[in-house]
């Protein structure tokens, strides 16, 4: 069994198992050594490559970590390494400013940064500096302190300029980037070549043998490594039935389980729903967000998943398919214990359905971690309030990192129902919350800290949502 894809400008087939990672293929089999290994768990970005996926509107490119990208996912796609974005002579518009501004010292992280920024320019027609800096959020550099990197990113953005194209996936946009020397001209042929080379049929080995379902694989391949090479894998990420963001009317939304975090950002589904849209950028790095899925975040059952915590507060309902048809389970009933979920091995989480927020409802998300970005929370929490005349009609507050499962703070919610929003209520609610949770001490903080932090983040919900009623000085 060969996995066939385009590697930079050429067709390539590998007989590596689908569960091997792309980084090993790139460095060991093709000997393109520009791609570096820094951590092998998606946390440094040194191995960043571009993955181009053909679709109805063109080829979509994402910057991804090749160390946690299974080879099976390459099938029918365009894999671009640093060698594939370097012009034959001279430097690209992304590369040159890194030299000019001294943004490359030891050089080990540099190829990954070049790929992340190139990926950013491929994903937008209106690049700006803050977007470019955000695109580098998944690239760790230990030498530069990033100051020169920011200067380089600014120059890259200015030299590239806005694109006349309507869509970043269009041929027009690629032409623009070719004309600005951001990418080599062979990119213009990729869509055609990918269309010609027929994508092998999805091998749906469900029911046949023992297999592992892989959505984004960002957690699985960060921890599972060598065992996955030997296993049968079923890749879910390109099944259109699992990847969509849909408005079903009457405020109801449905998200396919294999939709990625970047899909959610791109869809703008959470725009206007409190701070949720911006909060999505607190989920890991763009490389991981381009792969990590909503369904994966939920079935992974981490007590601290950011999306899970948001979905819990939105009273999401899961649609699960199995041999005997479909069933629906409220997310709040899905977690039975630490990493124990209401999902049989032959079942599949298909979609997540929720109401964004109704009239009079207010939403807020808070997360504190050891480092603000690209980190797992010490505590995260989402809150949805329905309030009339300063009185809480309903409050749903979820919290992660405070129990064996992603939790709804039921007693706190009960307390808040029919309470008037005032300093006393907030303080009592915080006390209730801190009493009802059961955090444990781990590498992300002591139990004592997480308890205190939960109280503080609850206060933050109130201060963010009701600034006209509450005074920080009274609450703190």
């Amino acid at each position: 069994m060969t996995v066939s894809f385009l590697l930079n400008g050429k067709k390539y087939g590998t007989s590596l198992p689908p569960g091997a990672v792309a980084l090993d293929l790139i460095r060991n089999e093709t000997q393109l050594t520009g791609t570096k290994e820094g951590c092998r768990e998606g946390d440094c970005g040194a191995c960043t490559v571009l993955l181009g996926t053909p679709g109805p509107d063109g080829v979509r490119y994402s910057a991804v970590n090749s160390c946690i990208l299974p080879v099976g996912e390459l099938s029918g796609r365009h894999l671009v390494t640093i060698e594939g974005v370097s012009p034959e002579e001279g430097l690209s518009t992304v590369q040159e400013p890194f030299v000019q501004h001294g943004a490359s010292q030891c050089g080990f992280c540099t190829p990954g940064m070049i790929m992340s920024l190139t990926g950013y320019l491929l994903s937008t027609t209106e690049p700006d500096v803050s977007g470019a800096v955000g695109a580098l959020g998944g690239n760790i550099c230990r030498c530069t302190g990033y100051i020169s990197v920011k200067r380089a990113a600014e120059t890259v953005v200015n030299s590239t300029g806005p694109s006349p194209a309507r869509s970043p996936f269009s041929r027009e946009h690629l032409k623009h980037l070719v004309s600005r020397n951001v990418i080599p001209s062979y990119f213009l042929n990729i869509e055609k070549i990918l269309a010609q080379s027929k994508e092998p049929e999805e091998r749906d080995s469900a029911g046949t043998a023992d297999y592992i379902k892989v959505a984004g694989g960002t957690d699985l391949f960060a921890t599972g490594g060598e065992e996955l090479v030997r296993r049968n894998l079923r890749f879910l990420s390109r099944n259109p039935q699992l990847r969509y963001v849909r408005n079903e009317g009457e405020g109801l939304f449905r998200i396919g389980a294999a939709s990625t975090v970047e899909d959610l950002i791109e869809s703008g589904i959470f725009k206007g729903t409190g701070n949720l849209h911006d909060s999505l950028r607190l989920v890991s790095s763009v490389q991981v967000r381009s792969r990590a899925t909503v369904g994966g975040n939920i079935v992974n059952a981490s007590p601290i998943g950011d999306l899970t915590i948001i979905m819990l507060a939105l009273k999401a309902v899961l649609r699960i398919s199995g041999a005997s048809g479909h069933r629906e389970v409220p997310l709040s009933k899905f977690f039975r214990g630490y990493k124990i979920i209401d999902l049989q091995p032959d079942e599949l989480l298909e979609s997540v359905c929720f109401k964004k927020s109704g009239p009079g409802e207010m939403v807020n998300f808070e997360k504190v971690s050891m480092r603000k970005h690209m980190d797992i929370a010490s505590v995260n929490t989402a809150a949805v309030f329905r309030v009339t005349n300063r009185t809480v009609e309903e409050a749903i507050i979820s919290a992660g990192g405070v129990a064996p499962v992603p939790a709804i703070l039921n007693r706190t919610c009960d307390y808040l129902r029919n309470s008037e929003i005032c300093t006393g209520t907030v303080l009592d609610a915080c006390e209730t919350a801190m009493e009802e949770i059961s955090p444990i001490t781990d590498v992300r903080g002591t139990a004592e800290y997480k308890r205190l932090l939960t109280g503080r983040l609850l206060k933050t919900h109130f201060l963010e949502l009701f600034p006209e009623i509450l005074e920080p000085g009274d609450i703190l």
Binding site: D43, L91, V99, C106, C141, C143, I147, L452
Partner: protein, 756 residues
């Protein structure tokens, strides 16, 4: 002038150790290491692992032909554990197999029986138990007793600073290839090729000339590859020697984090005595250094701590004592700053402590005690120059409220939970290896007959731009374009008996050696040109822009013709030169001398915003005024300042090493659990200004070393956070203990009794 390697880096064309094409018969090494911090080995069974598919050889201490010893200053570190283990990750056996996976799997199948013994991970506890790496040392000046009589105020306290993972992006690695005549060629990611060579020869029991170490470049090092690149390189050499096949040893990120040493954690007691006006008269301090299980460079690092015990200040009466304590952690090692950041943190803690008690601003005390020309250090050296004071004044003029600085307003007070904090951090750092004998370097320069130039030195390129500076020195000295210069790999057959590239001295020393070698060739070229052009005696010849000038006038004798004709006249176009830093000495019996060629100074102002609700913060701005002398390369030097600054900020804030207690097993052993600054952690605004300065004769072309000193500007962030906390909760007693993690911030803000 750009970093010469950068055009390769951005294309992914630079070759690091792992980017070499390896021969097909290469063997991959994997290690079995100690799972416990302290114990006696009672059994080691390699039979099952040895029979596994693909396994070629398993190596233990019994296979070592020479000495099983990799120690540097003190010979106390075995390459492979023999009868006891003293830290988690101590190598016990090396498996060689035809793939990395097979080697790793086999290493996991070696039977290892250990009787566990009690482990000590706290340096003060180790001190109580008499577990010392070397006897305590004391530097003193003046008289504490007399000084204390004149003090109006005396404060004492404790300050603790945490360790720090180097997190070079390229983990430790090396490969070794057997060559004829029983020789081994080693490609190592090391800052110290000669040290690797020396230890490999010692372990293999062969002469040093049979070991060739070649270093192309390092993917970051920061001190972490000064001594601790050695074991892996020596293991690869040993494997190649025993099997006759190439051997590669490469640590995974987790292995690297768990097995290798870090910046030394320190726990210190201080006593500071001041007059009413803030003048510091007395300074007494005892440092308990957590050395880990073997000495590594701990004693040298402790020595630098003692040199920098008074920071950027003059204090007339000083008694500073350092104790290097042996614990059951991986041997701690060099890390940018080399003991000085730990010393300066204690000094600033004491000043902050005093300012709080006296109701003064920290900067008032700092300014009153700042080093002036002619002041003496406790180690006998005199402070020269006015750059420190000028940098201080520039930063203060810019930032201090009552001098019209920008920090006049406090936009975050009142009804919001946000508070600003500002802190000034003056730095004075001595340049030279504290071990005087290491202050030497060599360069070998070849001019080829086509006019191209090859330069070999002992300097290792690890991103700091030393090769760029060396190329600049060669081009400037020879009067040719820099495109003619190629800086070669660092290789022990071309640069012998070299010091590690460390102590910020790489460009100074190797640059000066290069300059001498180039001057020697230039003199020969000019002597030849005099004859060749038949210019009158007494004329003054020089090379300018690749053309010979006579008495300042251009001629039509060009570099290429000159070189070609000089060769035909049978004049050597090569030169080797040696450089020894002049006028430095130290007498360790009196602890006095002139250990440093010069000092690098500067000042930083750091402004932070603290979110007192969530217990998080941002560094808004850092203004740095720094003395780089007549900088050889402002772009490279700026990069060093900015990079060191953020590393320093990381050290005092988010970078937290977490261990099991008891047991000392590292929990923060991945990038998911040990957080270093990312692009969002960088201050919104960093302004770096280089002071106009005459520089130093010991620096090359009057430049000054730049690698380490700016790290200590980062310390200001810790105290800026304390200032912000105090503006939210006046009177808060936060104590002095790094790192100031988000957890610690919030716990302190809630209740300052939460933290010891």
């Amino acid at each position: 002038m750009k970093h010469l390697d950068a055009t390769l880096h951005v294309r992914g064309k630079s070759v690091f150790v792992s980017d070499h094409n390896l021969p097909d018969n290469v063997l991959h090494g994997a290690l079995l290491t100690s799972p416990v911090p302290h114990g006696t080995i009672t059994g080691l069974d390699t039979s099952r692992a040895a029979g596994m598919n693909g396994v070629v050889r398993i190596i233990t201490w019994q296979d070592v032909p020479g000495e099983n010893q990799i120690g540097n200053i003190i010979l106390d570190e075995p390459l492979f554990a023999e009868t006891e283990v003293n830290f988690i990750g101590e190598p016990v056996a090396l498996v060689l197999a035809d793939t990395p996976l097979k080697a790793r799997n086999a290493a996991g199948c070696i039977g290892l029986d250990i009787i566990e013994l009690p482990a000590v991970t706290d340096p003060r506890r180790a001190f109580e138990l008499g577990m010392l790496i070397s006897p305590p040392r004391t530097f003193s000046m003046g008289s504490m007793d007399d000084g204390l009589k004149n003090c109006h105020h005396v404060f004492s306290g404790r300050a603790d600073s945490g360790g720090q993972e180097h997190l070079y992006l390229e983990t430790q690695r090396a490969f070794a290839v057997p060559a004829e005549k029983g020789c081994i060629r080693i490609h190592s990611s090391t800052q110290g090729p000669s040290f690797v060579q020396k230890v490999a020869a010692r372990v293999l029991n062969i002469p040093m000339n049979r070991i060739e170490v070649d270093v192309g470049r390092l993917g970051g090092a920061f001190g972490g590859k000064e001594d601790q690149a050695t074991p892996w390189a020596v293991m690869a050499a040993l494997g190649a020697y025993l099997t006759g096949r190439p051997v590669k040893v490469e640590l995974s990120r987790k292995e690297d984090m768990r097995w290798t040493g870090k910046r030394h954690p320190y726990s210190s007691d201080y006593r500071i005595g001041l007059r009413d006006d803030g003048r510091i008269l007395c300074w007494e301090v005892t440092y308990y250094q957590n050395g880990g299980a073997a000495s590594d460079l701990s004693t040298a690092i402790l020595e630098r701590t003692l040199f920098h015990s008074t920071g950027a200040y003059f204090i007339p009466n000083v008694r500073a004592t350092g104790v290097s304590c042996r614990t059951h952690l991986p041997p701690n090692t060099a890390f940018r700053g080399f003991g000085a950041p730990q010393a300066m943190f204690v000094m600033e803690s004491a000043i902050h402590h005093a300012s709080r008690e006296l109701g003064m601003k920290p900067w008032e005390i700092q300014e009153r005690n700042l080093l002036c020309r002619g002041d003496h250090f406790p180690y006998g050296m005199t402070f020269e120059g006015d750059e420190l004071r000028r940098s201080w004044n520039r930063v203060m003029d810019d930032r201090k409220p009552d001098r019209g600085g920008r920090n006049g307003k406090e936009p975050c007070s009142g009804g919001t939970p946000f508070r600003k904090g500002l802190y000034f951090m003056p730095v004075c750092f001595g340049i030279s290896f504290t071990n005087t004998s290491l202050n030497q370097a060599t360069a070998l320069v070849h001019v080829y007959t086509d006019g191209s130039v090859g330069v070999s030195t002992g300097a290792v390129e690890m991103g700091q731009g030393v090769n760029t500076k060396i190329a600049q020195v060669a081009a400037r000295t020879l009067g040719v374009d820099i495109s003619r210069i190629k800086v070669e790999t660092t290789n022990t057959t071309r640069a012998a008996n070299t010091s590690p590239t460390a102590a910020s001295t790489g460009a100074d020393m190797n640059g000066n050696a290069t300059r001498t070698a180039c001057n020697c060739i230039l003199e020969r070229l000019m002597a030849f040109a005099k004859d060749y052009m038949k210019v009158p005696k007494g004329s003054n010849l020089a090379l300018l822009d690749e053309t010979v000038t006579v008495d300042g006038r251009s001629t039509d004798l060009h570099w290429e013709e000159l070189v070609g004709q000089t060769y035909l006249a049978r004049v050597s176009l090569s030169s080797q030169a040696h450089y020894a830093t002049p006028d430095i000495y130290f007498d360790s019996s009196s602890e006095k001398g002139r250990p440093f060629a010069y000092h690098v100074t500067g000042t930083a102002a750091t402004e932070v915003t603290l979110d007192c609700l969530r217990g998080t913060f941002t560094v808004d701005s850092v203004t740095v005024v720094h003395d780089a002398g007549e900088s050889m390369n402002p772009l490279v030097d700026r990069g060093q300042v900015e990079g060191a600054l953020l590393q320093g900020i990381g050290w005092v804030t988010m970078e937290e090493l977490k261990y099991t207690e008891p047991g000392g097993e590292l929990l923060s052993d991945s990038l998911a659990t040990y957080k270093v600054p990312d692009i969002y952690s960088a201050p919104d605004e960093v302004r770096v200004e280089f002071l106009e300065s005459r520089g130093s004769n010991a620096g090359v072309y009057n430049s000054k070393a730049v690698g380490e000193p700016p790290f200590m500007y980062g310390i200001g962030t810790y105290f800026a956070l304390l200032e912000a906390m105090a503006s939210f909760r006046p009177g808060i007693r936060a104590g002095y203990s790094t790192p100031m993690s988000n957890q610690k911030l919030l716990m302190l803000l809630e209740d300052d009794r939460n933290i010891p």
